[in-house]
Amino acid sequence: MEPNQIGINYQAILPETITGGVAIIIMMIDALSRRIERRVAGGLSLLGLAGAAVSVATMWGRNAEPSFRGMIVTDQFRLFFALIFLVVSFLIVLISIRWIQEEQLPTGEYFALLMFATTGMLFMSAANDLVMIFLGLEITSISTYVLCGYRRTDLRSNESAMKYFILGSFSTAFLLYGMAFVYGASFQAGARPAATTNLQLLKERISSGALFSPEMLFAGAAMMIVGFGFKVATAPFHVWSPDVYEGAPTPVTAFLSTGSKAAAFAAFCRVFILTLAAAPIAESALMHSIHSVWVNALQVMAILTMTLGNLVAIVQGNIKRMLAYSSIAHAGYALVGMVASDWKAVAFYLLSYVVINIGAFAIIEVFAQRGDKRTEISDYAGIGFQSLGLATALSLFLLSLAGIPLTAGFMAKLIVFKSAWGSGFHVLVVIAVINSAISWYYYLRVIVAMFFADQQPEFKAPTLNRSFAAALVLTIIATLYLGILPGRVLDTLDRATDQISRARK
């Protein structure tokens, strides 16, 4: 068989190749020179991520191209999400360079795993087949299991890794079972192939209405929601996240709450919005039915997620845990966008969210000091004016998470709510809005502690290195840029296409 028949297209997997390759190179340098310099590892990672970003950028504007026999597809959906992931990893690398030295943890493996995770995430957004989604998800998950337990001697880190691992693989089993059901449902006698895990084919088959078993499709979809819902941490599948986020090393928490969440959303959107969603007209009753069912389910989950996240965040004393609940709530807002079946809104939401959240976690990381010692909100009492710059930046991020206008958080919420309202989910929007109001309370609590409470004598303002400062500046700029001048990004997104329906195997 000729290569082009197999659909080999190396350029299509160039970003993944670069990040994966960088991971391998780092490992090799580490192995050969016994100990890799953190700057080298970090620098290589940044270089790799930048290279990947460039390759993603060069792919922009091309029509949807499935490659590798439809295993992946290069559409703007993929590329936009890929950029989000690359941004996440870039920032995480920047904030990790300081941290990894301070904690004196193995350097090479850390960056390598981070790059592997990035590779997995990139595959998740590129995937056009359930197999690829599963693989990407597993690469990301397994590397993050390890990263959670990266501070091996720390009990909290251990616990975090174990819980994440048990619950993660458990939910993966559900996801897989769901995929199996969908595969089973997709059978069409006499067709080539007879049954499929390819998303485009699935969509066509569901649209045509001739399925082996609609029931299996529904059950499979439900189980996939369990799996994806777990990864994005929506109620009631969110339970792992507060514990894991709290226990994991802070940069890893940042990565978990942004990168792996965004990747899961990418896959979630790919499967549900792009595959299982009905166009307004000319679709089979089956498609309409599955669409409305999952939308209803997600609607309930979104409400549960937002409400639970926000309410429980109110009573938290640990800032990482509070932000964990906050990120649950944010998953809820993003779900609102999913309910509206508008992946662009979700994508913009995630882009804004990851930037802000990484910024917030970055600062929490420096404040936490070695071994995550100072992560209670009470530790933040009065540090606002002792470390004015960092505290102001943290305030900015928190307010942005709360949704103050002129920052990314507001634009993100606006776009999502607008989208949902436009699709007729008025009650959902109102509930989301009330939730936003509640969320102000706990974000403000941190600001209250930092600025309004009495100062702490023993607090020493942390020193920053250049890479960290760069990360901070980037996140601040991005937060404001997306809030004040979101036009370019939104325009790009607005014109972006997901040509899954046009792409053919």
Binding site: L167, F170, S171, V239
Partner: protein
């Protein structure tokens, strides 16, 4: 000659007030006094100028407008800063400026050496500005400016001794009571605007203004019924305006502030709380006579309140020991008389009484002030007596005032009071029992008036020198014998005494001399006063057109009634003379001495409930407890919910797994069953 004489009349005192207020602190007392008196003198001169310049026109009922600028103009609502001169406002500015000038002169002496001398005259000048604005305003809103302005100045002047709590309380009470009345006044104005579309009195084609009075004249009058008051028509307007008058003119039920207002310096009492401000209510009702004549129910209310207040206050007056309090209740009582006149349709008689009252009551107050100064700031009549020989001029002038207020024949009060009593008796607008009843009340009041005034004179100037019994405190102005007051105080007394004796002759009833037009006052004011509609014919002397045939019999009746009231007045004087010469310290009934406990009743039924209710119910219970409780409760509920939900997070991986399974089960069930 002068295009804006009224403006000069009004603004001259304002200028004085501004100068004194801004720079007075650094001025000498002499300069301050001069500025204050001069500005009022200017007002007085221009008031006379304006009046006599237009006298013929005024007598003919013409109105002279002075437009300064448009104050508020929104939509159809318009209120100008503009003045109007007609015979009513003309006569008012005459005696207001004249009396005020002499009171200012008196005050320069009386207030000598007081802290804040400049402040006092600044306020006094400001008061003049407000009062004159009130009088010459050409619309109700500008009148309200003066109306509130005099209230403010009254507040400031009552509270002049601001370190004294009773003075502050009195000041506040005065202002708030007035505000209660203003509430009615404003509603009346608004209702008038709603119905008439204008708050101007008269048409002024030059400005394209339609007057509310012309609207009122064109209305069919309301019937004399209780319901008409609440019908939202012209009767309602009249009653609401009258509520304002009860506040300003201290009528039942809002009269309680006036006796307390005596906490201010005596010239203030003379000027504001006797001669001018308190008569503003009468002025306003007379001004709005076009409205009242269409509202018989309101008229009846005015009459009843007036007569009731007259009697009520007179009974209290008998039992007071503070010399100024006696005069204060006397003022309330006399104001009641004036309203009685208005209520029976005899607006001119009411205004005439205002006019004469201004002289004799100012005189009496200034006299009392002279006594107080002479007695080294003693006001209690328990400690007076026998002052005749120490203060001869004061004694004589006050005697004139006493005779005038008691209605001793041929003194000014005799004519004005007589006009009221006669018109009450003869009014044709009230149904049967009322004229007689009101007349009887008026007569009884006249008797009481004579008695308590005699009591005042006797207790002060006759009998034993009781002040010797009480040794003054050493620091109290040095003590010593009573003495006559300085010329700056005595001269005004004399001037006013002359006035009090003679001004009554401006309004001698025509009936006294067959065919003569004796009642100049009547003829002057009448064109500014509205006449009633046909079915509402007044049988008083306002109507020259009432018919010659009836005239002779009415004239006889009028003379007879005059004789009756003269007899009553003299009887009262005699009674008082004999009784109080024998028992100067006769203990009056406690009920009267304590003013029927009205203050206490108000305190118990209004003030305390409002205060306690606001504190306990509104603030502590509703605001803090209920509303804030709900707010904080919602917050607490949120965190309690959060606190409850956090127990989902038990920390046990296995329970998380179970929860995931549960979620999956529900989800699958929904998807399968859907």
């Amino acid at each position: 000659m002068f295009e804006y004489p009224l403006a000069i009349v009004v603004f001259s005192p304002l200028l004085g007030a501004a100068v004194l207020g801004l720079f007075g602190k650094r001025m000498s007392e002499k300069l301050i006094g001069s500025i204050a008196c001069l500005t009022v003198a200017v007002s007085t001169v221009f008031a006379f100028y304006a009046f006599f310049e237009h006298r013929a026109g005024l007598e003919a009922g013409q109105k002279f407008h002075e437009y300064l600028f448009t104050w508020i103009s929104v939509g159809s609502f318009r209120a100008d800063f503009a003045f109007v001169l007609d015979s009513l406002s003309g006569i008012y500015i005459l005696f207001v400026t004249f009396v005020a000038f002499w009171i200012h002169v008196f005050a320069t002496g009386y207030m000598r050496g007081e802290d804040g001398y400049w402040r006092f005259f600044a306020y006094l000048n400001l008061f003049m500005f407000s009062m004159l604005t009130l009088v010459v305003a050409d619309n109700f809103l500008l009148m309200f400016v003066g109306w509130e302005g005099v209230g403010l100045c009254s507040y400031l002047l009552i509270g002049y001794y601001f370190t004294k709590d009773f003075a502050n309380d009195a000041a506040k009470k005065a202002f708030i009571m007035n505000r209660v009345g203003d509430f009615g006044f404003l509603l009346g104005v608004m209702l008038l605007f709603w119905k008439a579309g204008s708050i101007f009195y008269f048409d002024d084609p030059a400005r394209g203004i339609h007057g509310a009075f012309n609207w009122a004249m064109a209305q069919v009058g309301d019937p004399l019924s209780f319901a008409s008051i609440f019908a939202g028509g012209i009767s309602t307007i009249a009653v609401l305006l009258f509520v304002g008058a009860t506040g300003k003119s201290a009528q039942i039920p809002l009269f309680v502030w006036l006796p307390d207002a005596m906490a201010g310096p005596t010239p203030v009492s003379a000027l504001i709380h006797a001669a001018t401000m308190v008569t503003a209510g009468v002025y306003m009702v007379s001004r709005a006579s076009s409205i009242y004549v269409k509202a018989p129910a309101a008229m009846l209310i005015v009459a009843i309140i007036g007569a009731g207040t007259a009697l009520f206050a007179a009974t209290i007056g008998i039992a007071q020991w503070d010399i100024k309090k006696v005069l204060a209740y006397s003022t309330i009582s006399q104001l009641g008389y004036m309203f009685l006149a208005c209520g029976v349709g005899a607006f001119t008689a009411g205004i005439f009484h205002v006019f004469t009252h201004a002289f004799f009551k100012a005189l009496l107050f200034l006299g009392s002030g002279s006594v107080i100064v002479g007695m080294h700031h003693e006001q209690d009549m328990h400690r007076m007596g026998g002052l005749k020989k120490y203060m001869p001029i004061t004694y004589r002038t006050m005697l004139v005032g006493m005779l005038a207020i008691s209605g001793f024949p041929l003194f000014s009060g005799f004519f004005s009071k007589d006009a009221i009593l006669y018109n009450t008796f003869a009014t044709g607008i009230l149904p049967a029992p009322w004229p007689l009843l009101l007349w009887a009340v008026g007569l009884l009041t006249a008797l009481l008036t004579a008695i308590y005034m005699t009591r005042l004179i006797v207790l002060t100037f006759f009998g034993d020198e009781r002040f010797a019994e009480h040794s003054h405190d050493a620091h109290d102005h040095g003590g010593g014998k009573p003495h006559e007051s300085p010329p700056s105080m005595v001269v005004p007394l004399v001037v006013l005494a002359v006035g009090a004796a003679l001004v009554g002759f401006l309004g001698v009833p025509d009936a006294f001399w067959k065919g003569a037009n004796l009642n100049y006052f009547e003829r002057l004011v009448a064109p500014s006063i509205s006449t009633a509609r046909e079915s509402f014919v007044l049988t008083d002397t306002i109507h020259a057109s009432a018919g010659a045939a009836e005239h002779s019999s009415e004239a006889g009746e009028e003379i007879a009634l005059a004789v009756v009231s003269s007899v009553v007045a003299i009887a009262g004087l005699a009674l008082g003379w004999f009784w109080f010469n024998r028992k100067p310290l006769w203990q009056p009934p406690r009920l009267l001495e304590n003013k029927y406990y009205v203050d206490e009743v108000y305190d118990e039924t209004v003030i305390q409930p409002v205060k306690q209710g606001s504190t306990r119910l509104l603030w502590k219970t509703i605001d803090v407890g209920l509303i804030d409780g709900a707010v904080n409760g919602a917050a607490a509920l949120a965190s309690r919910l959060g606190g409850g939900m956090r127990y989902i997070q038990s920390g046990l991986a296995r329970s998380y797994v179970a929860l995931v399974v549960l979620g999956a089960l529900v989800l699958i069930a929904y998807f399968v069953i859907k």
